[in-house]
């Protein structure tokens, strides 16, 4: 370990150290605000250290025999930054949410930091070992986070479901990795890339089988159809800030890895892989958008809509070319902002005994709580892809990437299903704008910090939607460092 290596790994080290520090502090004296502040401080420090790490990039970490485990390049650092910013928003929202809960609160931040560590590892991994390590760090933390509110049956149910399904999907992933390893004798993306692009694979069935199994694992984590069945239950059952985390950070990290893995190994160029992913994308857009039509709970609607949105991102991914990776990354940024804003409103509105979710909870929101109603409206329009919001430009970019690569069938399906999508977003809006019939008891006051985060997210939503140029340049620079 040299100073160079330490600097490059500083973001990961700081996050791990913060997790330990919060744990120690909680053991000495429980203090919710202090735990949240320490977490935020750690995240801020890790974010600041990205800059130092960026100077050295790209740097591969790991012994030469095993191949490089992690690669700290512009692309990985960009996604780490995104993960850290998203997590910071979750921390603030969670603080307000947990204040109303009777549980011990400090452990939540430890789990969250561990999950962040796992996500950041995924964003930087370039080897099956580090990939699996990151994935498990993330998943194990998420099992506990999903079931964090022990008194609620629905939260426990979410935890158990996530545990069983995530463990099952991890075995698929492992088996897929094993098949590829058996065939190529390497687990490093770089070596795989060399051999796959050279077309040296004596046993084609092993390779496609291995990739197919890995796709199953990816599909589960990203909640792509037909591996999406867990999503609505877990979105509904998990505490709202955790749902926000699962929807954004965990999926963002997974896509960061997917992009690196498939582009650097060139696996997406295999025709069979392309076809399978195209079918998955189409199925996700259909299942997500049609499934959401039947729901009456905002958390479940957002769950189905996330399935559809991951389908859209997959379309951009399949578009590849010059615009594909940029479109994926930009879409994820817009999706982070939008989803965090939407779940931020849900979090802020949730009373102590349950999460807000039923459409009735949002009836007349715009008249009762104009600010929260306005944020939710913006977020829904962004999800629907209406101009002047981040979601519009993101969707536009995906469609542009697809049109550029000529994958017309997927693009046409995308635009048609997004019209269907508009319908259920409008249903929520109808509730938000309807006359308040009964006043359900909802959480009274939005804490200042949460209000600040929500205001910031809304401002970003509009700013990225109207002037996407700045973010686009950053995205281009980050994706440019991805070798493929």
């Amino acid at each position: 370990m040299t100073v160079r290596n330490l600097t490059a790994l500083a973001p990961l080290i700081i996050v791990s150290a913060t997790a330990l520090a919060v744990m120690m502090a909680a053991a000495l004296r429980r203090n919710h605000a202090a735990a949240a502040l320490m977490t935020l401080g750690g995240i801020a420090a890790a974010f600041a250290s990205l800059r130092a790490a960026a100077v050295l990039r790209p740097l591969a970490i790991g012994s030469s025999e095993a191949g490089q485990l992690l690669v700290i390049d512009g692309y990985g650092l960009f996604f780490m930054g995104l993960i850290l910013l998203g997590s910071a928003a979750v921390v603030v929202l969670a603080h307000g949410y947990l204040e109303r809960q009777a549980e011990h609160r400090e452990e939540f931040y430890i789990l969250l930091l561990v999950a962040v560590l796992g996500s950041m590892t995924l964003a930087a991994s370039s080897h099956f070992v580090s990939f699996f390590l990151g994935l498990e760090i993330l998943s194990v933390a998420l099992y506990a986070m999903n079931a964090y509110l022990r008194a609620r049956a629905i939260s426990l149910e979410a935890g158990i479901k996530y545990l069983v399904l995530a463990a099952a999907s991890a075995t698929f992933l492992l088996f897929g990795m094993a098949l590829l390893y058996a065939e190529f004798g390497t687990m490093s993306f770089d070596y795989l890339a060399g051999q796959m692009t050279a077309g040296i694979y004596p046993n084609r069935a092993m390779v496609t089988g291995g990739i197919a199994l890995m796709v199953t694992g990816f599909g589960f984590k990203l909640a792509l159809a037909p591996f999406h069945l867990w999503t609505p239950d877990i979105y509904e059952g998990a505490p709202a800030p955790v749902t926000a985390f699962v929807a954004t950070v965990s999926k963002g990290a997974m896509f960061a890895l997917l992009l690196r893995y498939f582009y650097s190994t060139g696996a997406y160029r295999l025709h069979s892989v392309f076809v399978v992913l195209a079918i998955i994308a189409a199925a996700s857009m259909l299942a997500g958008n049609l499934g959401a039509l039947l729901q009456n709970n905002l958390k479940r609607i957002l769950a189905y809509s996330s399935i559809a949105h991951m389908g859209y991102v997959l379309v951009a991914f399949l578009a590849a070319g010059d615009l594909g990776p940029e479109a994926v990354t930009f879409y994820l940024i817009a999706y982070f902002i939008t989803t965090l804003a939407a779940f931020g409103v849900v979090t802020a509105l949730s009373p102590a005994d349950r999460d807000a979710g039923r459409l009735g909870d949002f009836e007349g929101l715009i008249w009762k709580r104009p600010a929260l109603g306005g944020v939710l409206t913006l977020a829904l329009f962004s999800l629907a892809g209406i101009p002047a919001t981040a979601g519009f430009f993101a969707k536009f970019y995906v469609v542009a990437a697809g049109a550029d690569s000529g994958i017309w069938r997927l693009i046409i399906l995308l635009v048609l299903t997004s019209v269907v999508g508009l319908f259920y977003y409008l249903r929520v809006l109808v509730a938000v704008f309807s006359r308040p019939l009964e006043s359900r008891e909802l959480a009274p006051q939005v804490p200042f910090a949460s209000a600040f985060v929500l205001a910031g997210l809304s401002a970003l939503l509009v700013w990225v939607g109207v002037f996407p140029g700045t973010i686009l340049r950053a995205v281009k620079a980050a994706v440019g460092s991805l070798r493929y």
């Binding site: 329009f381 101009p387 469609v399 019209v419």
Partner: protein, 544 residues
């Protein structure tokens, strides 16, 4: 003054937005301040657009035929710019928007009591969107305005509408969005094709147009189809019109005025501004023309027949819009100067007449809270001023000479006749039916004894209410008596479009022939020749 002159389009565009931002700081309880501010802003919006009327004639065209152009970089990496400019066609529509925008808001003075602040801010946002659509010379910017406008309209119908407002609002939003996403695919096709051919990415409409000869015919037809669905839903052309009656019936009066007066024109404007010049060979393809023309004729007759059977006044006028807009699309696809300029004039006319008709229905609805025709009768006895204004507006809608409707319909029929006399013959049937349902409506509501006791004590119009109608009536007489300035403004852009889309036009139908009192033989014999020429030009397009 030079700053004002050079940035006049931006100023017109953003006046309502600035007003909206200020409005957000006025406390919601202060209804009077909100009302006054709403009216002042929309009136200011009209005032800042007024200099265009005086400047437009002398102003030299800066980029092709476009005047007052402004360009700023926006999203450089994809080649989208903030690029505004107007030619004669968009100039008239911009003026229509600012006038109707103000009158619509003025008409809401007493009609909207609830959530007035949100109501007025939605109207201001809507105004920005509509103006932006007519001013954009950048395809991406255009698309942003085109879509963003749906949001305030959705809320205007969905929050301040009638009993089935949610159904109508969602239907409106879904229909138009479905059309516009297909349009987006068309836009991207052109964008990438242009990038491939020139190595330069741009959404600049003028650059894309200059390249239109190079699009292969098959691609043009696909893109035309994508555009046509988007625009046809907006117009709305038969069979995409089913959202319109619902939206109109449920929308509040001012919403209907803007919807009929301006929003529908975006579809026809889209055909004229984008489909024709960007996809000339596809637009002039005989099959395409035939489909578009017959859909227009079906809309004219079907809309009129359905109007005749309506019991709700607003629904009747909504269906009459389908019929009137059929004339506009018929004029466009006649693809000659008369048809096109008549179509634009008729779009303005429809904005004036139908806008005024919706105001008139709104006035009676505010008094009686019903629009059932059978609830009324003999209103001319109790409301003479109302009856008089209604009559003028009704006659203008029917197309009585000296009023605006006549000029537009006549010119369109002339244009259609020059291509095929059968088209004009069918369309004329629509005019006759139009007179029938409007006169019948007027007779049933205004004439006869005033028997319903609820109607006997109705108050006649006050000054504010008359002022919402009188500007439109003055405009209607102006077009009806002296339409020359309007045709002058349209001449250059229409000529350019006809030259692009129908290059063989000038060779066989000179201005003299078109003014010939017996033109029947000439166009009939000319038509086959033109088809041959079109086919030839199409082949030439393929060869590119």
């Amino acid at each position: 003054m030079p700053f004002f002159h050079d940035h006049i389009l931006s100023i017109i565009l953003f006046t309502p937005l600035a007003g909206m931002v200020v409005l957000l700081f006025i406390p919601g309880e202060n209804k009077n301040a909100i009302r006054w501010w709403g009216n002042i802003v929309m009136f200011a919006g009209f005032l800042v657009s007024l200099p265009l009327v005086f400047w437009f004639g002398q102003e030299p065209a800066k980029e092709q035929l476009f005047k007052f152009t402004e360009t700023h970089s926006w999203i450089a990496s994809i080649g989208a710019e903030y690029h505004l400019g107007i030619d004669g066609i968009s100039f008239l529509l911009v003026m229509l928007t600012t006038v109707l925008g103000f009158l619509a808001v003025l008409s809401s003075w007493t009609a909207v009591e609830e959530r007035a602040k949100e109501y007025y801010s939605m109207f201001m946002l809507l105004d920005v969107g509509m103006l932006g659509v007519f001013m954009s010379l950048d395809f991406f910017l255009f698309y942003v305005f085109w879509e963003v406008m749906l949001v305030p309209m959705y809320f205007i119908i969905g929050v301040w509408g009638g009993p089935r407002k949610l159904y109508a609002a969602i239907k409106f939003f879904l229909y138009t969005l479905a059309g516009s996403v297909l349009m987006l695919l068309g836009i991207l096709t052109l964008y990438f094709r242009y990038a491939k051919d020139t190595g330069h990415t741009t959404f600049n409409l003028l650059d894309l147009m200059s390249h239109s000869h190079a699009w292969p015919f098959a691609m043009q037809v696909w893109v035309f189809a994508a555009f046509a669905i988007g625009f046809a839903i907006k117009v709305p052309m038969f069979p995409f019109h089913t959202w319109l009656p619902d939206a109109h019936v449920e929308a509040p009066t001012a919403g209907s005025v803007i919807l009929a007066g301006v929003l529908l024109k975006m579809g026809t404007y889209g055909f004229i501004r984008f489909s024709l010049p960007l996809l000339p060979q596809a637009s002039a393809d005989p099959t395409v023309v035939k489909v578009m023309v017959w859909l227009s004729i079906i809309a004219i007759i079907y809309g009129a027949l359905v109007s005749m059977m309506q019991r709700d006044m607003k629904k009747l006028i909504a269906y009459s819009s389908v019929s009137h807009l059929g004339f506009c699309t018929l004029g466009i696809f006649a693809l000659n100067p008369h048809g096109l300029s008549g179509s634009v004039i008729q779009q303005i006319n429809h904005g004036i007449s139908t806008g005024a008709l919706f105001l008139i229905v709104g006035l009676i609805y505010e008094r009686r809270h019903t629009r059932e025709i059978k609830e009324f009768g003999g209103l001319s006895n109790v409301m003479p001023r109302y009856a008089t204004l209604f009559m003028i507006v009704m006659l203008s809608s029917i197309g009585l000479p000296l009023l605006n409707g006549f000029i537009g319909e006549f010119t369109i029929l002339q244009g259609a006749f020059e291509v095929q006399w059968q088209w004009a013959a069918w369309a004329v049937a629509g005019i006759v039916l139009g007179a029938a349902y409007m006169l019948w409506l007027y007779q049933r509501t205004m004439f006869g004894p005033c028997e319903n006791p609820k109607n006997q004590a109705l108050k006649d119009l006050n000054l504010r209410e008359m002022m919402t109608l009188i500007p439109l009536i003055v405009w209607a007489f102006w077009i009806g008596i002296y339409p020359k300035p309007f045709f002058n403004v349209l001449e250059a852009p229409v000529k350019q479009i006809v030259e692009t889309v129908n290059p063989s036009f000038g060779t066989h139908a000179s201005a003299k022939v078109r003014l010939n009192p017996q033109p029947a033989a000439e166009p009939a014999s000319a038509a086959p020749g033109r088809r041959v020429a079109q086919t030839a030009s199409r082949r030439a397009g393929v060869a590119h």
